[in-house]
Amino acid sequence: MTMKAAFLEVYRGFMSLLTGMRITLGQCFKPIITVQYPRQTLKMAPRFRGHIELVLDPETGKSLCTACKLCERACPSDCIAVDGAKLDGQKTKSVTEYKLNFTTCSLCGSCIEACPFDAIQFSKDYNKVSFSRDTFSHMDLVKRLEERRKIWAQQRPAAPPAEMPMPGPAPASTPQTQEQKPS
Amino acid sequence: MNATLELVAERLSQLIGQTAVPSRPPMPVSANLAASTASFVSGPVQAVDHALKGYDLDVSVPPGLVVLAARILDNAGFGIDAVTGVDWMAQGEMEIVYDYFHPSSSSRVAVRTRVSRADPELPTISAVFPGANWHERETHDFFGIRFLGHPNLAPFLLPEDADFHPLRKDYKP
């Protein structure tokens, strides 16, 4: 290639290096976009799919689940084990034991769609942590419902049942640190 | 039915017409093999509606002619897409479907062939389409179909010492 073209190519190449450096310099002075996780946490989207949990009925404080086992059948990786019993004084069965094997659950939501009574929903907590495996392989959703019922019960006597604010489904286990939505 | 498809359909039907079709019960031997392209409804070479089935030409070929069919499609400019094995345990047969796509014209050909389930053997087409080498090795892994003349039929996706074939219907883990 001709001498002129060679020099031109070297010159243009060198200029492309400079533009590259100009861009990184420009980026250098822009604000930081990363969220410093342990100190700041992100707010999860309303439709975020955490592990499934039983819905707390605002009026009665009990679960809506009637142990019909439809979700158990719909689950592709059969990680749900439901057990129900007919308590006296009620026409339908109510759930006594709801075991979820979160280690094999693929969060697809087939169980929630299959449930005719909308008794289960996705929870919003993402940083569940524990020292032993079986807290996840035998997640007991009924026990978790009890915990939330206690919180719900405390708020209930304070305010009359009618306009009682529904406690946020996310149990208070995650550290309540300052929330910061990245710019 | 665009041009390349008709050309290929024509050649394939001649190919099947010439060779003596070995006694294979399920293969419908249609009488008018040299029929015009429009009448490709029954018989080994069938035109299929793409919107309905996802491919345009469905060709049933005896196992021996698989390489020749591949050569015809190669000359017509087709590319190898996939090699699928299906284990029809009820009929005691294994079906192998070769999928071909054409880079420029919207035509897809599925070449089917059936092999007995007892000793599934089939000539390899990796000489014509080197791409099929991997596909055939995978099908051998899953179904145990031996491809004669294949350069290297060692287990591919399964561990080196695997002697089981998972996708056979009678496979018990």
């Binding site: 492309s16 719909a74 | 089935k53 590319g79 190898i80 299906v86 420029s104």
Partner: protein, 358 residues
Amino acid sequence: MLNLGPQHPAAHGVLRVLMTMDGEWITKAEPVIGYIHRMHEKMGENRTWAQFLPNTSRIDYLSAMHYTHAFVGAVERAAKIEVPARAEYVRVITSELNRISSHLVWWGAMLLDLGGFTPILYAFEDREKILDLLEGLCGARLTYCYYRFGGLCNDVDDEFLNGTRTFVKEMRPRLGMYRNLVTDNIILRKRLTGVGPISAELCRKYGATGPVIRGSGVPYDVRTVEPYSVYPKFDFKIPIYQEGDSMARYLVRMDEMEQSLRIIEQALDNLPAGPFMGKVPRVLKLPPGDTCYAVEAARGRFMVRIVSDGKDTPYRLKLRTPSFCNLSLYEEASRGMILPDALAMLGSLDLVIPDIDR
């Protein structure tokens, strides 16, 4: 004999390449796969049609929407389920968003292989916006299980539509910045031009599709050659480059991102109202026979071939993945190259190992 082992920084995931070298030149590079083989096809055979949905987004997690689209399309085509127009438009929008996020991951990872450490952070900044949009829509960031037979699992809300519009507006100048920072950079140009030439003939023989075949001059894109869903309604250009080297494949993917932005804009402009879910029988039983449905995933042509015998579980489920065929030509294409070139070419093939092993 150099063993580019499964735990090598340049092998995206667990790909092992046995390279026999003399000095720095490669005489024979034989990829060894199967390290992350999960046998999706056998899983398909003992699950009902609806239960296989979560699996589809785990075959190639970077373009999960395309894979679910193919499986859902195949079942709809076999069972002749009618999909409302709104659902098809939303499927196109989410698929194109997913294509951009997959190309961004490829762009960052490839430059990481070539030694440029900064671009991957910029790419992930933009990709974060897409993931937030899709997380707001269907709750998952990577393995969306968003499509259902006959439509979607929940409708599109305004927050998603406005978010996508602002994303498209912001993304265009960003693509311009990427071009100045990397594409026009002389070091990258010299690093990629003429490296790993793949001829159109080689692509055809090995069945390589997607940006690999479009980089060699063949305008093969499933969205135009075999149009599916509502793609014929949009006008977009298929970027083609004749050289067939790594630079051509690089440029094809960069242009594809712009085209996807155009498609998203057109789809957003005339998104029809109406239902987002068609009528689907409770227990789905497909008529016997086989059907296949092909989709243009980020890496190439992904085809699902389902063979059903009338029962509610598939009789045979064949997943034709693009990376499997794209990698099969690596052995022949990389003969005689030197090590850094071979890795640059591996990066330009944009491989996802679970996509190869299934």
